[in-house]
Amino acid sequence: MTTLTKQQQDPAARVRRPKAAKPDRKSFIHRSGDLKVALFFIFPAMIGFVAFYLVPTIRGVYLSFTEYSILGDPTWIGIKNYTAMLGDELFWNAMAVTVQYVGLNIGFQTVIALGLALLMHRVAKSTFIRGALLLPFLVANVIVALLWFWMLDYQLGIVNEIISWMGLPRIAFFGSEQWAIPTIAAVNVWRHMGYTALLIFAGLQSIPNHVYEVASLDGSSPTRTFWSITMPLLRPVMVLVLVVTVIGSFQVFDTVAVTTAGGPINASRVIQMYIYQKAFGESDFGYASALSVILFVILALVAFVQMKFLKGNESDLD
Protein backbone atom coordinates (compact mmCIF):
# COMPACT_ATOMS: atom_id res chain seq x y z
CA MET A 1 0.00 0.00 0.00
CA THR A 2 2.93 2.31 -0.21
CA THR A 3 1.85 2.87 -3.68
CA LEU A 4 -1.28 4.20 -2.22
CA THR A 5 0.87 6.64 -0.36
CA LYS A 6 2.60 7.65 -3.51
CA GLN A 7 -0.57 7.97 -5.47
CA GLN A 8 -2.11 9.94 -2.70
CA GLN A 9 0.77 12.33 -2.58
CA ASP A 10 0.75 12.99 -6.23
CA PRO A 11 -2.27 15.30 -6.39
CA ALA A 12 -0.97 17.05 -3.31
CA ALA A 13 2.04 17.90 -5.38
CA ARG A 14 -0.12 18.84 -8.29
CA VAL A 15 -2.17 20.95 -5.96
CA ARG A 16 0.95 22.64 -4.74
CA ARG A 17 2.48 24.10 -7.86
CA PRO A 18 0.12 23.94 -10.75
CA LYS A 19 1.80 26.90 -12.40
CA ALA A 20 5.15 25.20 -12.69
CA ALA A 21 3.58 22.49 -14.85
CA LYS A 22 3.92 24.70 -17.90
CA PRO A 23 6.57 23.68 -20.42
CA ASP A 24 9.83 25.17 -19.35
CA ARG A 25 11.05 28.61 -20.12
CA LYS A 26 13.15 29.22 -23.18
CA SER A 27 15.63 31.52 -21.52
CA PHE A 28 18.14 28.80 -20.87
CA ILE A 29 21.23 28.53 -23.02
CA HIS A 30 20.72 25.70 -25.46
CA ARG A 31 23.33 23.80 -27.25
CA SER A 32 22.91 21.15 -29.84
CA GLY A 33 24.70 18.63 -27.61
CA ASP A 34 21.85 18.39 -25.13
CA LEU A 35 20.60 15.05 -26.41
CA LYS A 36 23.79 13.23 -25.46
CA VAL A 37 23.79 14.77 -21.99
CA ALA A 38 20.08 14.07 -21.61
CA LEU A 39 20.57 10.42 -22.50
CA PHE A 40 23.17 10.18 -19.79
CA PHE A 41 20.95 11.81 -17.18
CA ILE A 42 17.86 9.84 -18.04
CA PHE A 43 19.55 6.49 -18.60
CA PRO A 44 19.02 4.91 -15.13
CA ALA A 45 15.42 6.09 -14.90
CA MET A 46 14.82 4.81 -18.42
CA ILE A 47 16.04 1.33 -17.48
CA GLY A 48 13.71 1.30 -14.50
CA PHE A 49 10.83 2.64 -16.53
CA VAL A 50 11.15 0.19 -19.40
CA ALA A 51 11.97 -2.86 -17.28
CA PHE A 52 9.55 -2.38 -14.43
CA TYR A 53 6.71 -0.25 -15.79
CA LEU A 54 6.42 -0.32 -19.56
CA VAL A 55 7.26 -3.94 -20.37
CA PRO A 56 5.32 -5.38 -17.40
CA THR A 57 2.26 -3.36 -18.39
CA ILE A 58 2.34 -4.72 -21.93
CA ARG A 59 3.19 -8.19 -20.66
CA GLY A 60 0.33 -8.04 -18.17
CA VAL A 61 -2.14 -7.36 -20.94
CA TYR A 62 -0.60 -10.17 -23.04
CA LEU A 63 -0.74 -12.66 -20.16
CA SER A 64 -4.42 -11.94 -19.66
CA PHE A 65 -5.04 -13.67 -23.00
CA THR A 66 -3.08 -16.76 -22.03
CA GLU A 67 -3.12 -19.73 -19.77
CA TYR A 68 0.02 -19.61 -17.70
CA SER A 69 1.06 -21.43 -14.56
CA ILE A 70 4.56 -19.82 -14.39
CA LEU A 71 6.12 -23.19 -15.26
CA GLY A 72 6.56 -23.58 -18.99
CA ASP A 73 5.36 -21.02 -21.50
CA PRO A 74 2.12 -19.07 -21.67
CA THR A 75 -0.45 -20.58 -24.05
CA TRP A 76 -2.58 -18.15 -26.05
CA ILE A 77 -6.27 -18.80 -25.34
CA GLY A 78 -7.84 -15.60 -26.66
CA ILE A 79 -10.53 -14.04 -24.52
CA LYS A 80 -11.32 -17.21 -22.59
CA ASN A 81 -10.14 -15.71 -19.30
CA TYR A 82 -12.55 -12.84 -19.77
CA THR A 83 -15.52 -15.02 -20.71
CA ALA A 84 -14.74 -17.27 -17.74
CA MET A 85 -15.02 -14.23 -15.50
CA LEU A 86 -18.62 -13.70 -16.51
CA GLY A 87 -19.62 -17.00 -14.97
CA ASP A 88 -17.23 -16.81 -12.04
CA GLU A 89 -19.26 -16.30 -8.90
CA LEU A 90 -16.16 -15.64 -6.82
CA PHE A 91 -15.22 -12.81 -9.17
CA TRP A 92 -18.62 -11.16 -8.84
CA ASN A 93 -18.49 -11.71 -5.11
CA ALA A 94 -15.05 -10.06 -4.99
CA MET A 95 -16.39 -7.10 -6.96
CA ALA A 96 -19.40 -6.75 -4.66
CA VAL A 97 -17.23 -7.00 -1.55
CA THR A 98 -14.76 -4.46 -2.92
CA VAL A 99 -17.49 -1.99 -3.86
CA GLN A 100 -19.05 -2.37 -0.43
CA TYR A 101 -15.66 -1.75 1.15
CA VAL A 102 -14.96 1.31 -1.01
CA GLY A 103 -18.40 2.74 -0.27
CA LEU A 104 -18.07 2.39 3.49
CA ASN A 105 -14.42 3.41 3.57
CA ILE A 106 -14.71 6.48 1.36
CA GLY A 107 -18.08 7.58 2.74
CA PHE A 108 -17.02 7.72 6.36
CA GLN A 109 -13.46 8.77 5.68
CA THR A 110 -14.44 11.76 3.55
CA VAL A 111 -17.06 13.07 5.96
CA ILE A 112 -14.82 12.65 9.02
CA ALA A 113 -11.80 14.12 7.21
CA LEU A 114 -13.82 17.12 6.08
CA GLY A 115 -14.93 17.69 9.66
CA LEU A 116 -11.37 17.40 10.93
CA ALA A 117 -10.10 19.73 8.22
CA LEU A 118 -12.65 22.37 9.21
CA LEU A 119 -11.62 21.99 12.84
CA MET A 120 -7.93 22.31 11.92
CA HIS A 121 -8.70 25.36 9.83
CA ARG A 122 -10.84 27.19 12.33
CA VAL A 123 -9.78 26.27 15.82
CA ALA A 124 -6.74 24.01 15.98
CA LYS A 125 -4.01 25.23 13.67
CA SER A 126 -1.15 23.74 15.65
CA THR A 127 1.30 21.55 13.77
CA PHE A 128 1.38 19.25 16.76
CA ILE A 129 -2.28 18.35 16.43
CA ARG A 130 -1.94 17.87 12.68
CA GLY A 131 1.08 15.66 13.32
CA ALA A 132 -0.77 13.55 15.85
CA LEU A 133 -3.66 13.02 13.46
CA LEU A 134 -1.24 12.04 10.69
CA LEU A 135 0.51 9.42 12.81
CA PRO A 136 -1.56 6.33 11.85
CA PHE A 137 -0.95 7.05 8.17
CA LEU A 138 2.81 6.85 8.62
CA VAL A 139 2.70 3.47 10.29
CA ALA A 140 2.51 0.42 8.02
CA ASN A 141 -0.89 -0.97 7.04
CA VAL A 142 0.19 -4.29 8.46
CA ILE A 143 0.94 -2.75 11.84
CA VAL A 144 -2.35 -0.89 11.95
CA ALA A 145 -4.21 -4.04 10.94
CA LEU A 146 -2.57 -6.15 13.65
CA LEU A 147 -3.06 -3.48 16.30
CA TRP A 148 -6.79 -3.39 15.60
CA PHE A 149 -6.92 -7.15 15.22
CA TRP A 150 -5.84 -7.26 18.85
CA MET A 151 -8.04 -4.41 20.08
CA LEU A 152 -11.09 -5.90 18.36
CA ASP A 153 -10.41 -9.48 19.48
CA TYR A 154 -13.60 -11.29 20.50
CA GLN A 155 -12.28 -12.61 23.81
CA LEU A 156 -9.73 -10.16 25.14
CA GLY A 157 -9.84 -7.10 22.91
CA ILE A 158 -10.33 -3.83 24.73
CA VAL A 159 -13.20 -2.79 22.45
CA ASN A 160 -15.18 -5.91 23.26
CA GLU A 161 -14.32 -5.45 26.93
CA ILE A 162 -15.92 -2.03 26.75
CA ILE A 163 -18.89 -3.36 24.80
CA SER A 164 -19.49 -6.12 27.31
CA TRP A 165 -18.94 -3.71 30.23
CA MET A 166 -21.80 -1.67 28.78
CA GLY A 167 -23.94 -4.78 28.93
CA LEU A 168 -24.03 -5.38 25.17
CA PRO A 169 -23.22 -8.68 23.43
CA ARG A 170 -19.62 -9.07 22.18
CA ILE A 171 -19.02 -8.66 18.45
CA ALA A 172 -16.86 -10.95 16.32
CA PHE A 173 -15.47 -8.04 14.32
CA PHE A 174 -13.10 -9.93 12.03
CA GLY A 175 -14.73 -13.31 12.53
CA SER A 176 -18.27 -12.83 11.26
CA GLU A 177 -19.38 -12.46 7.68
CA GLN A 178 -21.51 -9.41 8.32
CA TRP A 179 -18.85 -7.50 10.30
CA ALA A 180 -15.64 -8.33 8.42
CA ILE A 181 -15.86 -5.70 5.68
CA PRO A 182 -17.27 -2.89 7.84
CA THR A 183 -14.51 -3.59 10.36
CA ILE A 184 -11.74 -3.50 7.76
CA ALA A 185 -13.25 -0.33 6.32
CA ALA A 186 -13.34 1.27 9.78
CA VAL A 187 -9.72 0.34 10.49
CA ASN A 188 -8.62 2.03 7.30
CA VAL A 189 -10.80 5.06 7.98
CA TRP A 190 -8.87 5.37 11.22
CA ARG A 191 -5.57 5.11 9.37
CA HIS A 192 -6.38 7.57 6.58
CA MET A 193 -8.65 10.19 8.14
CA GLY A 194 -5.84 12.43 9.36
CA TYR A 195 -4.02 12.32 6.05
CA THR A 196 -7.18 13.02 4.05
CA ALA A 197 -8.01 15.83 6.46
CA LEU A 198 -4.60 17.40 5.79
CA LEU A 199 -5.23 17.34 2.04
CA ILE A 200 -8.60 19.03 2.50
CA PHE A 201 -7.07 21.44 5.01
CA ALA A 202 -4.61 22.52 2.33
CA GLY A 203 -7.58 23.26 0.09
CA LEU A 204 -9.36 25.23 2.80
CA GLN A 205 -6.33 27.45 3.25
CA SER A 206 -6.46 28.42 -0.37
CA ILE A 207 -9.89 30.04 -0.06
CA PRO A 208 -9.20 33.77 0.23
CA ASN A 209 -10.26 35.46 3.43
CA HIS A 210 -12.09 38.31 1.75
CA VAL A 211 -14.71 35.89 0.51
CA TYR A 212 -15.59 35.06 4.11
CA GLU A 213 -15.46 38.69 5.11
CA VAL A 214 -17.96 39.68 2.44
CA ALA A 215 -20.23 36.83 3.48
CA SER A 216 -20.04 37.92 7.09
CA LEU A 217 -20.80 41.56 6.16
CA ASP A 218 -23.83 40.34 4.27
CA GLY A 219 -25.00 38.64 7.45
CA SER A 220 -24.56 35.08 6.23
CA SER A 221 -24.88 32.48 8.99
CA PRO A 222 -21.99 30.05 9.57
CA THR A 223 -24.05 27.15 8.22
CA ARG A 224 -25.04 29.12 5.14
CA THR A 225 -21.43 30.26 4.63
CA PHE A 226 -20.30 26.64 4.78
CA TRP A 227 -22.79 25.38 2.21
CA SER A 228 -22.78 28.35 -0.17
CA ILE A 229 -19.15 29.41 0.01
CA THR A 230 -16.80 26.88 1.58
CA MET A 231 -18.17 23.78 -0.12
CA PRO A 232 -18.45 25.15 -3.69
CA LEU A 233 -14.95 26.66 -3.49
CA LEU A 234 -13.57 23.48 -1.98
CA ARG A 235 -15.10 21.24 -4.61
CA PRO A 236 -12.07 20.95 -6.92
CA VAL A 237 -9.94 19.87 -3.97
CA MET A 238 -12.60 17.46 -2.77
CA VAL A 239 -12.83 15.86 -6.20
CA LEU A 240 -9.05 15.45 -6.36
CA VAL A 241 -9.03 13.94 -2.90
CA LEU A 242 -11.84 11.59 -3.90
CA VAL A 243 -10.06 10.46 -7.09
CA VAL A 244 -6.98 9.56 -5.10
CA THR A 245 -8.68 7.94 -2.13
CA VAL A 246 -11.14 5.93 -4.23
CA ILE A 247 -8.34 4.57 -6.41
CA GLY A 248 -6.35 3.65 -3.32
CA SER A 249 -9.37 2.14 -1.65
CA PHE A 250 -10.10 -0.18 -4.58
CA GLN A 251 -6.65 -1.69 -4.11
CA VAL A 252 -7.09 -2.64 -0.47
CA PHE A 253 -4.98 -5.69 0.31
CA ASP A 254 -2.58 -5.52 3.27
CA THR A 255 -5.25 -5.12 5.93
CA VAL A 256 -7.27 -8.02 4.55
CA ALA A 257 -4.22 -10.23 4.04
CA VAL A 258 -3.02 -10.11 7.64
CA THR A 259 -6.39 -10.18 9.39
CA THR A 260 -9.05 -12.26 7.62
CA ALA A 261 -7.19 -13.47 4.50
CA GLY A 262 -10.47 -13.05 2.65
CA GLY A 263 -12.69 -14.89 5.11
CA PRO A 264 -14.83 -15.83 6.85
CA ILE A 265 -15.82 -17.89 3.80
CA ASN A 266 -15.74 -15.22 1.07
CA ALA A 267 -16.93 -12.27 3.12
CA SER A 268 -13.82 -10.12 2.79
CA ARG A 269 -12.18 -11.48 -0.34
CA VAL A 270 -11.61 -8.15 -2.06
CA ILE A 271 -10.52 -8.05 -5.68
CA GLN A 272 -6.79 -7.70 -5.04
CA MET A 273 -6.93 -10.58 -2.55
CA TYR A 274 -8.66 -12.67 -5.22
CA ILE A 275 -5.98 -11.79 -7.78
CA TYR A 276 -3.28 -12.69 -5.27
CA GLN A 277 -4.88 -16.04 -4.47
CA LYS A 278 -5.44 -16.88 -8.14
CA ALA A 279 -1.83 -16.14 -9.02
CA PHE A 280 0.07 -17.39 -6.01
CA GLY A 281 -2.39 -19.85 -4.50
CA GLU A 282 -3.58 -21.54 -7.68
CA SER A 283 -0.71 -20.60 -10.05
CA ASP A 284 -3.27 -19.27 -12.52
CA PHE A 285 -1.30 -16.26 -13.73
CA GLY A 286 -3.34 -15.87 -16.91
CA TYR A 287 -6.63 -15.49 -15.10
CA ALA A 288 -5.04 -13.33 -12.41
CA SER A 289 -3.70 -11.02 -15.14
CA ALA A 290 -7.13 -10.76 -16.70
CA LEU A 291 -8.54 -9.80 -13.30
CA SER A 292 -5.84 -7.13 -12.99
CA VAL A 293 -6.76 -5.75 -16.40
CA ILE A 294 -10.36 -5.42 -15.26
CA LEU A 295 -9.25 -3.69 -12.04
CA PHE A 296 -7.08 -1.36 -14.13
CA VAL A 297 -10.01 -0.52 -16.42
CA ILE A 298 -12.29 0.15 -13.47
CA LEU A 299 -9.74 2.47 -11.87
CA ALA A 300 -9.19 4.32 -15.14
CA LEU A 301 -12.95 4.78 -15.53
CA VAL A 302 -13.32 6.00 -11.96
CA ALA A 303 -10.50 8.50 -12.45
CA PHE A 304 -11.84 9.62 -15.82
CA VAL A 305 -15.38 10.21 -14.58
CA GLN A 306 -14.15 12.09 -11.54
CA MET A 307 -11.66 14.19 -13.49
CA LYS A 308 -14.33 15.24 -15.96
CA PHE A 309 -16.39 16.23 -12.99
CA LEU A 310 -13.40 18.21 -11.72
CA LYS A 311 -12.88 20.19 -14.91
CA GLY A 312 -16.38 21.57 -14.75
CA ASN A 313 -15.60 23.06 -11.41
CA GLU A 314 -12.16 24.43 -11.90
CA SER A 315 -13.22 28.00 -12.50
CA ASP A 316 -15.18 28.43 -9.29
CA LEU A 317 -12.77 30.96 -7.85
CA ASP A 318 -12.34 33.14 -10.92
Binding site: P18, V123, I129, I143, A202
Partner: protein, 310 residues
Protein backbone atom coordinates in the same frame (compact mmCIF):
# COMPACT_ATOMS: atom_id res chain seq x y z
CA UNK B 1 -18.14 28.65 13.34
CA UNK B 2 -16.70 30.88 10.69
CA UNK B 3 -17.65 33.91 12.74
CA UNK B 4 -15.06 33.02 15.33
CA UNK B 5 -12.48 32.65 12.58
CA UNK B 6 -13.37 36.05 11.30
CA UNK B 7 -13.12 37.63 14.70
CA UNK B 8 -9.69 36.21 15.09
CA UNK B 9 -8.53 37.13 11.62
CA UNK B 10 -9.72 40.68 12.09
CA UNK B 11 -7.98 41.02 15.40
CA UNK B 12 -4.80 39.98 13.65
CA UNK B 13 -5.31 42.42 10.84
CA UNK B 14 -6.36 45.44 12.85
CA UNK B 15 -5.52 45.55 16.53
CA UNK B 16 -3.64 42.68 18.12
CA UNK B 17 -6.19 41.60 20.70
CA UNK B 18 -5.33 38.39 22.47
CA UNK B 19 -8.72 37.73 24.00
CA UNK B 20 -10.82 35.46 21.90
CA UNK B 21 -14.54 35.26 22.52
CA UNK B 22 -15.28 32.08 24.45
CA UNK B 23 -18.35 30.58 22.92
CA UNK B 24 -19.95 27.18 23.35
CA UNK B 25 -19.19 26.60 19.68
CA UNK B 26 -15.51 27.01 20.35
CA UNK B 27 -15.60 24.76 23.37
CA UNK B 28 -17.50 22.13 21.39
CA UNK B 29 -15.01 22.37 18.53
CA UNK B 30 -12.08 21.92 20.87
CA UNK B 31 -13.80 18.95 22.48
CA UNK B 32 -14.03 17.36 19.04
CA UNK B 33 -10.35 18.06 18.36
CA UNK B 34 -9.37 16.47 21.66
CA UNK B 35 -11.60 13.48 20.90
CA UNK B 36 -10.02 13.03 17.46
CA UNK B 37 -6.49 13.18 18.89
CA UNK B 38 -7.47 10.73 21.65
CA UNK B 39 -8.98 8.27 19.17
CA UNK B 40 -5.82 8.52 17.09
CA UNK B 41 -3.29 8.17 19.88
CA UNK B 42 -5.02 5.77 22.32
CA UNK B 43 -4.49 2.63 20.19
CA UNK B 44 -0.74 3.30 20.15
CA UNK B 45 -0.74 3.51 23.95
CA UNK B 46 -2.64 0.25 24.02
CA UNK B 47 0.05 -1.29 21.80
CA UNK B 48 2.67 -0.12 24.28
CA UNK B 49 0.70 -1.40 27.26
CA UNK B 50 0.20 -4.83 25.71
CA UNK B 51 3.81 -5.18 24.59
CA UNK B 52 5.03 -4.69 28.16
CA UNK B 53 2.50 -7.13 29.58
CA UNK B 54 3.05 -10.78 30.25
CA UNK B 55 0.93 -12.69 27.78
CA UNK B 56 -0.41 -15.09 30.38
CA UNK B 57 -1.68 -12.23 32.53
CA UNK B 58 -3.57 -10.51 29.72
CA UNK B 59 -6.60 -12.77 29.99
CA UNK B 60 -7.33 -11.91 33.59
CA UNK B 61 -6.56 -8.21 33.17
CA UNK B 62 -8.21 -7.50 29.84
CA UNK B 63 -9.66 -4.18 30.91
CA UNK B 64 -6.75 -2.96 33.05
CA UNK B 65 -5.15 0.17 31.64
CA UNK B 66 -1.65 -0.54 32.94
CA UNK B 67 0.57 -3.38 31.69
CA UNK B 68 -0.66 -6.68 33.10
CA UNK B 69 2.19 -8.23 35.09
CA UNK B 70 4.91 -5.97 33.62
CA UNK B 71 7.39 -8.01 31.60
CA UNK B 72 10.00 -7.65 28.90
CA UNK B 73 9.44 -11.27 27.85
CA UNK B 74 7.53 -10.28 24.72
CA UNK B 75 10.45 -8.24 23.39
CA UNK B 76 12.93 -10.99 24.22
CA UNK B 77 10.72 -13.47 22.40
CA UNK B 78 10.41 -11.29 19.33
CA UNK B 79 14.11 -10.49 19.19
CA UNK B 80 15.09 -14.15 19.43
CA UNK B 81 16.50 -13.86 22.95
CA UNK B 82 14.42 -16.66 24.44
CA UNK B 83 14.77 -20.40 24.01
CA UNK B 84 11.76 -22.10 22.38
CA UNK B 85 10.86 -23.61 25.77
CA UNK B 86 10.82 -20.23 27.48
CA UNK B 87 8.81 -18.77 24.62
CA UNK B 88 6.19 -21.50 24.78
CA UNK B 89 5.96 -21.16 28.54
CA UNK B 90 5.15 -17.48 28.08
CA UNK B 91 2.53 -18.11 25.42
CA UNK B 92 4.65 -17.81 22.27
CA UNK B 93 4.69 -20.31 19.43
CA UNK B 94 8.24 -21.44 20.06
CA UNK B 95 8.97 -21.13 16.35
CA UNK B 96 12.25 -19.41 15.56
CA UNK B 97 11.59 -15.76 14.90
CA UNK B 98 14.17 -13.06 14.80
CA UNK B 99 13.08 -9.52 14.35
CA UNK B 100 16.68 -8.28 14.53
CA UNK B 101 17.20 -9.92 11.17
CA UNK B 102 13.97 -8.50 9.75
CA UNK B 103 14.89 -5.10 11.12
CA UNK B 104 18.24 -5.30 9.31
CA UNK B 105 16.52 -6.43 6.11
CA UNK B 106 14.00 -3.59 6.31
CA UNK B 107 16.80 -1.09 6.82
CA UNK B 108 18.66 -2.42 3.76
CA UNK B 109 15.53 -2.56 1.60
CA UNK B 110 14.24 0.88 2.53
CA UNK B 111 17.63 2.62 2.46
CA UNK B 112 18.84 1.19 -0.85
CA UNK B 113 15.55 1.82 -2.68
CA UNK B 114 15.19 5.33 -1.26
CA UNK B 115 18.75 6.35 -2.13
CA UNK B 116 18.59 4.91 -5.65
CA UNK B 117 15.13 6.15 -6.40
CA UNK B 118 15.69 9.71 -5.21
CA UNK B 119 19.08 10.07 -6.90
CA UNK B 120 18.15 8.57 -10.27
CA UNK B 121 14.82 10.40 -10.27
CA UNK B 122 16.67 13.65 -9.61
CA UNK B 123 18.91 12.95 -12.61
CA UNK B 124 15.89 12.28 -14.79
CA UNK B 125 14.12 15.36 -13.45
CA UNK B 126 17.17 17.39 -14.46
CA UNK B 127 16.93 16.04 -17.99
CA UNK B 128 13.23 16.86 -18.10
CA UNK B 129 13.56 20.37 -16.68
CA UNK B 130 16.95 21.68 -17.84
CA UNK B 131 17.86 20.00 -21.08
CA UNK B 132 16.33 20.23 -24.52
CA UNK B 133 16.08 17.06 -26.49
CA UNK B 134 13.70 15.69 -29.09
CA UNK B 135 10.78 13.71 -27.66
CA UNK B 136 11.27 15.08 -24.17
CA UNK B 137 7.64 15.96 -23.53
CA UNK B 138 6.39 12.72 -25.07
CA UNK B 139 8.66 10.66 -22.84
CA UNK B 140 7.62 12.66 -19.80
CA UNK B 141 3.96 12.14 -20.69
CA UNK B 142 4.58 8.40 -20.97
CA UNK B 143 6.23 8.40 -17.55
CA UNK B 144 3.28 10.26 -16.07
CA UNK B 145 0.78 7.92 -17.67
CA UNK B 146 2.25 4.95 -15.83
CA UNK B 147 1.34 6.64 -12.58
CA UNK B 148 -2.19 5.45 -13.38
CA UNK B 149 -1.24 1.78 -13.59
CA UNK B 150 -2.17 0.02 -10.35
CA UNK B 151 0.84 -1.65 -8.69
CA UNK B 152 -0.78 -5.10 -8.72
CA UNK B 153 -0.90 -4.88 -12.49
CA UNK B 154 2.87 -4.67 -12.85
CA UNK B 155 3.54 -6.82 -9.78
CA UNK B 156 2.59 -10.09 -11.50
CA UNK B 157 4.81 -9.67 -14.60
CA UNK B 158 7.59 -8.24 -12.42
CA UNK B 159 7.38 -11.30 -10.21
CA UNK B 160 7.64 -13.57 -13.27
CA UNK B 161 10.64 -11.64 -14.56
CA UNK B 162 12.46 -11.59 -11.22
CA UNK B 163 11.76 -15.31 -10.87
CA UNK B 164 13.08 -16.05 -14.35
CA UNK B 165 16.21 -14.07 -13.60
CA UNK B 166 16.67 -16.26 -10.54
CA UNK B 167 16.49 -13.24 -8.24
CA UNK B 168 13.62 -14.31 -5.99
CA UNK B 169 14.59 -14.08 -2.33
CA UNK B 170 17.59 -11.87 -2.99
CA UNK B 171 18.04 -8.21 -2.15
CA UNK B 172 18.58 -7.55 -5.84
CA UNK B 173 15.16 -8.93 -6.71
CA UNK B 174 13.58 -7.10 -3.82
CA UNK B 175 15.05 -3.69 -4.59
CA UNK B 176 15.39 -3.58 -8.41
CA UNK B 177 11.79 -2.60 -9.23
CA UNK B 178 12.09 0.44 -6.93
CA UNK B 179 15.71 1.30 -7.48
CA UNK B 180 15.66 3.48 -10.59
CA UNK B 181 12.62 5.69 -10.48
CA UNK B 182 9.00 6.15 -9.73
CA UNK B 183 6.94 8.40 -11.96
CA UNK B 184 5.88 10.30 -8.87
CA UNK B 185 9.42 11.07 -7.72
CA UNK B 186 10.40 12.40 -11.16
CA UNK B 187 7.22 14.45 -11.38
CA UNK B 188 7.73 15.87 -7.88
CA UNK B 189 11.37 16.87 -8.49
CA UNK B 190 10.79 18.19 -12.00
CA UNK B 191 8.13 20.52 -10.63
CA UNK B 192 10.59 21.82 -8.11
CA UNK B 193 13.49 22.17 -10.54
CA UNK B 194 11.26 24.15 -12.90
CA UNK B 195 10.41 26.59 -10.14
CA UNK B 196 14.06 27.18 -9.20
CA UNK B 197 15.86 30.28 -10.40
CA UNK B 198 18.37 29.53 -13.12
CA UNK B 199 20.56 32.59 -12.90
CA UNK B 200 23.39 30.87 -11.09
CA UNK B 201 23.25 27.94 -13.47
CA UNK B 202 23.32 30.22 -16.49
CA UNK B 203 26.29 32.09 -15.09
CA UNK B 204 28.09 28.81 -14.41
CA UNK B 205 27.24 27.69 -17.93
CA UNK B 206 28.83 30.83 -19.34
CA UNK B 207 31.90 30.05 -17.28
CA UNK B 208 32.08 26.75 -19.10
CA UNK B 209 30.71 24.48 -16.40
CA UNK B 210 29.44 21.11 -17.61
CA UNK B 211 25.97 19.79 -16.86
CA UNK B 212 27.33 17.18 -14.48
CA UNK B 213 28.97 19.87 -12.38
CA UNK B 214 25.90 22.09 -12.46
CA UNK B 215 23.75 19.16 -11.39
CA UNK B 216 25.96 18.19 -8.46
CA UNK B 217 27.17 21.59 -7.32
CA UNK B 218 24.22 23.85 -7.99
CA UNK B 219 20.96 22.02 -8.56
CA UNK B 220 21.23 19.29 -5.91
CA UNK B 221 22.37 21.62 -3.09
CA UNK B 222 19.67 24.15 -3.97
CA UNK B 223 17.05 21.42 -3.97
CA UNK B 224 18.21 19.93 -0.67
CA UNK B 225 14.90 20.65 1.07
CA UNK B 226 12.56 18.98 -1.43
CA UNK B 227 15.05 16.14 -1.89
CA UNK B 228 15.01 15.56 1.87
CA UNK B 229 11.22 15.65 1.96
CA UNK B 230 10.98 13.22 -0.93
CA UNK B 231 13.57 10.92 0.63
CA UNK B 232 11.71 10.98 3.94
CA UNK B 233 8.35 10.15 2.37
CA UNK B 234 9.90 7.50 0.14
CA UNK B 235 11.69 5.89 3.07
CA UNK B 236 8.52 5.70 5.14
CA UNK B 237 6.63 4.28 2.18
CA UNK B 238 9.29 1.67 1.49
CA UNK B 239 9.55 0.77 5.16
CA UNK B 240 5.81 0.07 5.15
CA UNK B 241 5.73 -1.77 1.82
CA UNK B 242 4.14 -5.18 2.10
CA UNK B 243 2.88 -6.55 -1.21
CA UNK B 244 6.10 -6.77 -3.23
CA UNK B 245 8.29 -8.12 -0.37
CA UNK B 246 5.51 -10.66 0.26
CA UNK B 247 5.87 -11.87 -3.33
CA UNK B 248 9.61 -11.62 -3.86
CA UNK B 249 11.11 -11.88 -0.37
CA UNK B 250 9.50 -14.77 1.49
CA UNK B 251 12.78 -16.33 2.52
CA UNK B 252 13.91 -15.56 6.06
CA UNK B 253 17.26 -14.18 4.88
CA UNK B 254 15.62 -11.24 3.08
CA UNK B 255 12.28 -11.07 4.92
CA UNK B 256 11.38 -7.52 5.91
CA UNK B 257 9.48 -6.48 9.03
CA UNK B 258 6.02 -6.17 7.49
CA UNK B 259 6.22 -9.66 6.03
CA UNK B 260 7.76 -10.95 9.26
CA UNK B 261 4.80 -9.56 11.20
CA UNK B 262 2.39 -11.49 8.99
CA UNK B 263 4.37 -14.68 9.50
CA UNK B 264 4.59 -14.10 13.26
CA UNK B 265 0.84 -13.61 13.44
CA UNK B 266 0.08 -16.76 11.45
CA UNK B 267 2.47 -18.82 13.62
CA UNK B 268 0.86 -17.63 16.83
CA UNK B 269 -1.17 -20.37 18.57
CA UNK B 270 -4.72 -20.14 17.24
CA UNK B 271 -6.66 -20.67 20.47
CA UNK B 272 -4.56 -18.37 22.64
CA UNK B 273 -2.59 -15.95 20.45
CA UNK B 274 0.62 -14.42 21.70
CA UNK B 275 -0.79 -10.92 21.91
CA UNK B 276 2.06 -9.36 23.86
CA UNK B 277 4.56 -10.86 21.45
CA UNK B 278 2.56 -9.55 18.50
CA UNK B 279 2.34 -6.04 19.96
CA UNK B 280 6.03 -6.05 20.86
CA UNK B 281 6.75 -7.02 17.26
CA UNK B 282 4.55 -4.25 15.84
CA UNK B 283 6.22 -1.79 18.18
CA UNK B 284 9.68 -2.86 17.01
CA UNK B 285 8.49 -2.45 13.43
CA UNK B 286 6.94 0.95 14.07
CA UNK B 287 9.72 2.50 16.15
CA UNK B 288 12.00 3.63 13.29
CA UNK B 289 9.12 5.45 11.60
CA UNK B 290 8.02 6.94 14.89
CA UNK B 291 11.58 8.18 15.53
CA UNK B 292 11.79 9.69 12.06
CA UNK B 293 8.47 11.34 12.61
CA UNK B 294 9.55 12.79 15.94
CA UNK B 295 12.68 14.21 14.32
CA UNK B 296 11.14 15.49 11.09
CA UNK B 297 7.44 15.59 11.87
CA UNK B 298 7.03 19.19 10.85
CA UNK B 299 8.57 18.53 7.46
CA UNK B 300 6.24 15.60 6.85
CA UNK B 301 3.16 17.49 8.00
CA UNK B 302 4.01 20.54 5.93
CA UNK B 303 4.79 18.48 2.87
CA UNK B 304 1.15 17.44 2.90
CA UNK B 305 -0.53 20.51 4.31
CA UNK B 306 1.65 23.00 2.49
CA UNK B 307 -0.01 26.04 0.87
CA UNK B 308 -2.66 24.26 -1.20
CA UNK B 309 -4.12 25.45 -4.47
CA UNK B 310 -3.08 28.98 -5.19
Amino acid sequence: MSTSTLTRKKSVNNIPVNRKPVSWRRVGAWALVVLAVAVTVAPFLWMLRTAFSSNAALASNAGNLLPADFSLGAFKRVLGMQTPEEAIAEGGSGAAINFWLYLRNSVIFATVTTAGQVFFSAMAAYAFSRLRWPGRNAVFGLFLATMMVPPIFTALPNFIMIKNLGLLNTFAGLTLPYLFMTPFAIFFLRQFFLSMSREVEEAAMLDGAKHLRIFFQIVLPNAAAPLATLALLTFIGQWNEYFWPLLAGQDESVRVLTVGLGVFKSQSPQGAPDWSGLMAATLVAAIPVLLLFMAFGKKVVNSIGFSGIK
